[in-house]
């Protein structure tokens, strides 16, 4: 115990302080990220009276537990529900459409930008990212008019096309970084074996880039699924095409709907994305940040 009399050095003191602080921070972060989702889930299985009676309670008792909120949210409007089941399929259609269209548009471009030297190629990738400089609202007006002329307003196809604008730049960025990691020599070997460039891409490069393509596709899906502004602008007048995000917001705006039903809707909206994300977390985080570690 004689060591106690020796004054602690700054390094020792800080080592201990941060050793403790680290756990405090981790606990704090876990609480602020998980608590809102727990709260959402909790409220969605409570009757509204139970919430109003005791707003601060963090659990639900067995006799209170109810799934009627989900029933109300999911049932079609014809049966007095909110029709979220139909909206789920709308969201899925628009999102999958956005994934397919964006990938078709972005794969050749990102390959060219990362691999081929061509006139203007180096400036192009910066140019694609410059798209994000402009507020989405800026794009909304003309797109709205364009689609009205083409008869696409209020349709999911139109929405999927609009989402391309939101997702192409980031997709190119993600895939470009990955293509750059595939060694040239593999492509050269394929070329020596007589593959054309297209064959090389289809048979060699794309299979090798599969993880990145998956990550990019999932990321696009998540962006499209979560998108709200364009859905609001384009679909507000056609309730049968509402996506879940829009439906939920309209539900909250509409005539008295109990908060617990609103939370059930939020859970329905959140679950697909979170499940998808958890299933592919590693893939996604690596796809997004690849390149960030070697700046």
């Amino acid at each position: 115990m004689s060591r106690a009399s020796i004054p602690m050095s700054r390094a020792q003191f800080e080592e201990r302080l941060f050793g403790v602080l680290r756990w405090v921070v981790i606990a704090f972060l876990a609480v602020i990220t998980l608590a809102p989702f727990y709260y959402m889930l909790l409220l969605s299985v409570k009757p509204i009276d139970a919430l109003l009676l005791d707003p601060g309670r963090l659990w639900v008792s067995a006799q209170e537990f109810t799934l009627s909120t989900y029933e109300e949210v999911l049932k079609p409007t014809s049966e007095g529900g909110q029709g979220f089941l139909g909206m789920l399929s709308n969201s899925a259609l628009a999102s999958i459409g956005a994934v397919v269209l964006t990938m078709l548009a972005a794969i050749p471009g990102s390959y060219a930008v990362s691999r081929l030297r061509f006139f203007g190629g180096r400036h192009l990738s910066a140019l694609f990212l410059a798209v994000y400089l402009f507020p989405a609202t800026l794009l909304a007006v003309p797109l709205f008019v364009m689609f009205a002329r083409m008869g696409l307003q209020g349709s999911l196809v139109g929405l999927a096309i609009v989402y391309i604008a939101q997702t192409v730049p980031v997709s190119i960025y993600m895939m470009r970084n990955y293509f750059a990691t595939i060694p040239y020599s593999i492509e050269e070997a394929a070329a020596l074996d007589g593959c054309s460039r297209l064959q090389t891409i289809r048979k060699v490069v794309l299979p090798l880039a599969a993880p990145s393509l998956m990550a990019t596709g999932l990321y696009i899906f998540m962006i499209a699924w979560n998108e709200f502004l364009f859905a609001l602008l384009f679909l507000a007048a056609t309730p049968e095409n509402w996506t879940v995000s829009l439906g939920l917001q309209q539900l909250a705006n509409g005539i008295e709907v109990s908060k617990t039903v609103l939370m059930a809707g939020s859970v329905v909206l959140t679950i697909p994305v979170v499940v998808l994300f958890l299933a592919a977390e590693r893939l996604l985080t690596e796809g997004l940040t690849s390149g960030a570690d070697k700046s």
Binding site: R10, A11, E14, E15, F18, L29, T33, L34, P36, F37, M40, L51, L52, P55, G56, A105, P108, G109, S110, Y111, A112, L116, R117, F118, F119, V131, L133, F134, P135, A136, T137, L138, V141, V145, R149, I161, I164, A165, V168, P169, G194, S196, R197, L198, Q199, F228, L229, L233, S245, K259, L262, M263, S266, L269, T270, V273, V274, F277, T285, S295
Partner: protein, 354 residues
């Protein structure tokens, strides 16, 4: 649309003749025999030529799509900003109507424009700094492995991946003065006298150490939401960079007796600086144009009227397309001005540092 079809046609061409570059005029590697009006003096294409053509061919579909859904609309908006345009008559209107600067006069002269711009700046700066600071703290805390780190890491990304509409409503309900859990607990545990309307108080009196001052509560709450929602983004990038810092650097500093704060300041921070700078720029741009979060939480009321929400209001409440376009344009110009300033003053420094 005729433009969009073009690249689709070139692709099968390239595939049908193996050995060819897929370029529009793709010729066989040793194909001087093939006639081509484009080539001068029958010179065989060099490898670089072919690569150039292939590159252009590959990039064309992407450029066309981006052009149609992004560049054209932006240019159109610029045109609209200089015209009198209402949503009803825009359908039949030609591209070039009557030019005027009325929209800009309206925008700059309308009440609340300058405060709105100032609010946007505060909101953007606050959210950017907040999310990066919290992301950095999180990355430092989760840097070393521990049992359950994967789980914590995964859960920390939830705010970022969850749909904005859903999480905005959770916040709204949790902060509600009537049945929100925050006010309930605040009253119970912290002894709040009366419920606080977080999302609808323009200002709130706070007394700290005997000093009374007003804070823009709704704006702070929205900044808090934005910080919460986007710190995982900063966290991801910073953690990836942190884990790429060679262990030797820190070990050496440790052997020399450097305390953790010193190691962070002199070893880690310089390594992280380029990523932090990049994140600042990215987050600033994204937040500056942000619409959903503020619109869903406060609807732009109570001192949170950022410009993006104003643009939306002009568009949907007044159907004044011209003024909306002008406002969006002003927003974009301000953003580019700020970025220009940033790169003039800091761009060089960051490059030197890295």
């Amino acid at each position: 649309m005729s433009l969009a079809k073009q690249p689709a046609n070139t692709a099968p061409d390239g595939a049908s003749s193996p050995g060819d570059g897929p370029g529009a005029g793709g010729s066989a590697p040793h194909g001087p025999g093939r006639k081509s009006g484009l080539r001068r003096r029958g010179r065989p294409l060099t490898r670089a030529d072919r690569e150039n053509r292939a590159g252009l061919a590959f990039v064309t579909p992407t450029v066309v799509v981006v052009g149609v859904v992004v560049v054209l609309p932006i240019l159109w908006t610029v045109l609209l900003a200089f015209q009198e345009a209402r949503l009803v008559d825009i359908q039949g209107m030609g591209l070039l109507g009557n030019w005027s600067l009325d929209n800009f006069r309206d925008v700059f002269g309308s009440p609340g424009f300058w405060t709105s711009l100032w609010t946007t700046l505060l909101y953007t700066a606050g959210s950017t700094l907040g999310s990066i600071a919290l992301g950095l703290i999180a990355a430092l805390a989760l840097r070393k492995p521990f049992r359950g780190r994967g789980l914590v890491r995964g859960s920390m990304l939830l705010p970022y991946v969850a749909p904005v509409v859903a999480v905005a409503f959770v916040w709204e309900i949790a902060l509600s003065p009537q049945f929100g859990i925050i006010n309930e607990w605040g009253a119970k545990l912290l002894g709040w006298d009366e419920p606080i309307a977080f999302l609808s108080s323009r200002s709130h009196e706070v007394s700290l150490l005997g000093l009374h001052f007003e804070v823009p509560l709704a704006l702070l709450t929205v900044i808090g939401f934005e910080t919460w929602r986007y710190f995982p983004f900063a966290f991801l990038f910073l953690l990836a960079r942190l884990q790429a810092v060679p262990d030797g650097l820190e070990e050496a500093a440790k052997v020399d007796g450097a305390a953790p704060t010193q190691r962070f300041r002199h070893v880690l921070l310089p390594q992280l600086m380029p990523v932090i700078a990049l994140l600042c720029v990215l987050r600033f741009i994204m937040t500056f144009n942000k619409f959903d979060d503020v619109y869903l939480l406060t609807g732009g009321g109570s001192g949170t009227d950022v410009v993006a929400v104003r643009v939306y209001d002009f568009l949907t409440a007044r159907f004044d397309v011209g003024a909306a376009a002008a406002q969006a344009l002003v927003l974009a110009v301000v953003l580019m001005g700020l970025l220009g300033l940033y790169f003039t003053f800091f761009g060089k420094k960051v490059q030197e540092d890295s």
